[in-house]
C-alpha cells in the first residue's frame, strides 16, 4: 500500500478527465431522430433557397421588362402598328432592347387554352412586343411610352411584366418565409427531442453520475460525457440526414427541370446554396450538444 501510495498517486493535474465513463449513450433512436430532422430541414432549406433564387431572379428579370400588346383585329393594320411601335421604341433613350414576339410563338403560348388552327377570323390574337428598359419599368416611363405609342399605334397597350407576376412573386415570397418558419420549428423540435433523451439518459445513469459527483467530478466533466455522446449521435444522424435530404432535393430538382419552365429554372440551386445545405448538420450538432449540456447542467445543479 505504502508503495502504491508513494508512487505519485496524487499528482492532480487539473485537466478535465477525458474518459470518466464509457460512452453514455443517449439512446438508440437518437441518431435516427436527428437524421429525420436534418433530412426534413435540408428539404425545407432547399425549398426556401430555391424560392428565394426564383423570386430574386424573376424580380430582376421583370423589373426592367415591359410588354406591349397591340390588340387589332385587322392583321394588316396590326402588323403596320407593330412595325411602327417597334421602330419608335427602338429609338427611345429609355429602351435598351426591343423584341417583337413572332406571331407563331404567340399562338403557341395560347395553344393550351385555344387549341390549334385558330385563325384571326375566329379570334384575333394580339401582337406582342417585349422590351427591356435601362432604369426599370416605373409608372412614369411607362406612361410616357404609352403616350408616344398612342401616336403611331393607337391599339397599343403597355404593361410592366412585374404587374401581372406580382401576386405570384408575393406567394413565392410567402412560401419562402414559411420554409424559414418550418426550419425554426424543426430546430425547436430537435432540441426538445435531445432534451428528453438527455433527461432519460440522466435518469438511467443517475447512480453513476452521483458516484462521479461524490468522487469530485465537476458538473462540467459530467456534462462533457453527455455532450460527447450526443455529439457522436448527432454527427452520425446529421450526415445520414444530409445524404437523405440531398438525395430528395436532387430528385425533386430533376422532376422540376423536366417541366422545362423558365420560371422554375430560375429556382435552380447554386453551388453556394449546396454549401448552405451542407451546414445544416453542423447546426443540428450544435443545437443538440448545447441542449444536452444545458439539460445536464440544470439537473446536476439540483445535487449539492
Amino acid at each position: 500500500m505504502a508503495r502504491a501510495a508513494e508512487r505519485g498517486l496524487a499528482p492532480f493535474r487539473g485537466k478535465r478527465a477525458a474518459h470518466l465513463l464509457p460512452r453514455a449513450r443517449l439512446g438508440g433512436p437518437m441518431p435516427w431522430v436527428i437524421a429525420i430532422m436534418v433530412a426534413i430541414t435540408v428539404l425545407a432549406a432547399a425549398g426556401g433557397l430555391a424560392l428565394s433564387n426564383l423570386v430574386v431572379r424573376a424580380s430582376g428579370d421583370l423589373a426592367g421588362s415591359a410588354t406591349v400588346q397591340i390588340v387589332e383585329p385587322d392583321p394588316a393594320i396590326r402588323d403596320a402598328q407593330v412595325q411602327a411601335a417597334a421602330a419608335l421604341l427602338a429609338s427611345d433613350p429609355d429602351v435598351s432592347e426591343v423584341s417583337v414576339v413572332p406571331q407563331d410563338r404567340v399562338e403557341q403560348l395560347l395553344e393550351p387554352w385555344l387549341g390549334t388552327g385558330v385563325g384571326d377570323d375566329a379570334l384575333p390574337v394580339p401582337a406582342l412586343i417585349d422590351l427591356s428598359l435601362y432604369d426599370g419599368a416605373d409608372a412614369e416611363t411607362l406612361a410616357r411610352l404609352n403616350d408616344r405609342l398612342a401616336e403611331v399605334a393607337p391599339a397599343a397597350r403597355i404593361d410592366a411584366q412585374s404587374d401581372w407576376l406580382a401576386p405570384v412573386l408575393t406567394a413565392l415570397s410567402t412560401l419562402r418565409w414559411v420554409s424559414i418558419g418550418l426550419i425554426a420549428l424543426l430546430a425547436f423540435t430537435g432540441g426538445a427531442a435531445v432534451w428528453l433523451a438527455a433527461r432519460n439518459a440522466l435518469g438511467v445513469n443517475r447512480d453513476t453520475i452521483e458516484i462521479v459527483h461524490l468522487l469530485g467530478g465537476s458538473d462540467d466533466q459530467i456534462a462533457r460525457i453527455f455532450q460527447r455522446s450526443i455529439l457522436l449521435d448527432a454527427l452520425v444522424g446529421g450526415l445520414l440526414g444530409l445524404v437523405l435530404g440531398s438525395a430528395a432535393v436532387v430528385l425533386m430538382a430533376a422532376q422540376f427541370a423536366a417541366l422545362d419552365s423558365g420560371l422554375v429554372a430560375g429556382g435552380q440551386l447554386r453551388p453556394v446554396d449546396w454549401l448552405v445545405l451542407a451546414t445544416v448538420p453542423l447546426f443540428a450538432v450544435a443545437i443538440a450538444v448545447y441542449t444536452a449540456r444545458v439539460t445536464v447542467l440544470s439537473s446536476l445543479r439540483k445535487m449539492l
Binding site: M1, A2, R3, A4, A5, E6, R7, G8, L9, A10, P11, F12, R13, G14, K15, R16, A17, A18, H19, L20, L21, P22, D207, T208, E210, I211, V212, H213, L214, L215, G216, G217, S218, D219, Q221, R301, L304
Partner: protein
C-alpha cells in the same frame, strides 16, 4: 508524535433533518485533526451514515457550521465543492461501484476524475488491486464479484488517490476477520502517511485493533466523546479510561 496545529474538519452545532421530520442529528460539534485515526461508533440508526454524508459533502446540514480544510463549506459555492471532495476518499456502506466498469476502471475512477493521464494510472491501479488481493479480478465487473471483493474494490477506489481524509462507512462489514484486519492495517498505513481516517463501525472489536485511534460515539443523533476525541488535545484509547 507532535500535536497537530490546524483542524481538518470542524463541526459546530450542526443539525440535520429531512423535511419537517425531527432532527436525525442534533447539536453535533467536533473537530478532527490531520493525521488522526477516528472511529465513529453507534448502534444501527444512530445517524452514523448521515454524519458521514455531511462529512464527505453529499449534503448540507439543516443548521450549524462546517469548516473543512480551513474553509466554510456551507457557504462555499457548489462549483468549488468538487475540489474539496477530491481531497477525500470515501468507502460507501453499499460500495457504490459503477456496474458497467471493471474492477480496474472503478479503482481508476478517482484518478481519471482528477485528470491523471492514462499512462500514469496503470501502475498505481494495478498495485492497488494487487494489494487488496484482486489483481486476478481486474477485468471483472462488480456484478461478478463477491460482497467481500466488491468491498475491497471500493476501498481501493477510496485510497488510490492518497486522500487527505478517508471516510469509510462500515468498511469491514462484508469481509472475513482476516481481511478485516488487513483492511484496517491498510487504513493505518495510509494514516501513517498523514491521511486522517474516519471509520464508522458498530464492531467494537475493531476499535481495539488501532491503539492510537480516537472514538466518537453517536447515540440517537447526538455525539458522545468517550476518548476525548472531540476535545483538544485528544486522549488516546486506553489513556485515562
Amino acid at each position: 508524535m507532535s500535536e497537530p496545529e490546524t483542524e481538518i474538519v470542524q463541526f459546530d452545532n450542526v443539525g440535520l433533518r429531512y423535511g419537517t421530520d425531527r432532527e436525525i442529528l442534533s447539536n453535533i460539534s467536533f473537530t478532527l485533526f490531520p493525521g488522526r485515526f477516528y472511529f465513529l461508533t453507534g448502534a444501527s440508526g444512530a445517524g452514523k451514515t448521515s454524519l458521514l454524508r455531511l462529512l464527505y459533502l453529499a449534503q448540507r446540514p439543516s443548521r450549524g457550521a462546517i469548516r473543512m480544510f480551513g474553509t466554510d463549506v456551507i457557504t462555499l459555492p457548489r462549483e468549488r465543492l468538487p475540489a474539496y471532495r477530491r481531497r477525500m476518499g470515501v468507502v460507501f456502506q453499499d460500495f457504490r461501484l459503477v456496474e458497467h466498469l471493471s474492477a480496474f476502471d472503478n479503482v481508476a475512477l478517482p484518478l481519471r476524475v482528477s485528470g491523471v493521464r492514462e499512462a500514469d494510472l496503470q501502475g498505481p491501479v494495478s498495485d492497488m488491486l494487487d494489494w487488496v488481493g484482486l489483481s486476478h479480478r481486474a477485468d471483472a465487473r462488480p456484478a461478478t464479484l463477491s460482497g467481500g471483493e466488491q468491498q475491497r474494490v471500493a476501498i481501493a477506489r477510496a485510497v488510490i488517490g492518497r486522500p487527505d481524509m478517508l471516510v469509510a462507512d462500515e468498511p469491514t462489514g462484508n469481509v472475513d476477520p482476516e481481511m478485516a484486519l488487513k483492511l484496517i492495517r491498510l487504513f493505518e498505513a495510509l494514516n501513517r502517511l498523514g491521511t486522517t481516517v474516519v471509520v464508522a463501525t458498530h464492531d467494537v472489536h475493531l476499535l481495539r485493533k488501532v491503539p492510537d485511534s480516537l472514538i466518537m460515539r453517536l447515540d440517537k443523533g447526538t455525539l458522545a466523546d468517550p476518548t476525548g476525541a472531540l476535545r483538544y488535545p485528544p486522549r488516546r484509547v486506553g489513556a485515562g479510561q
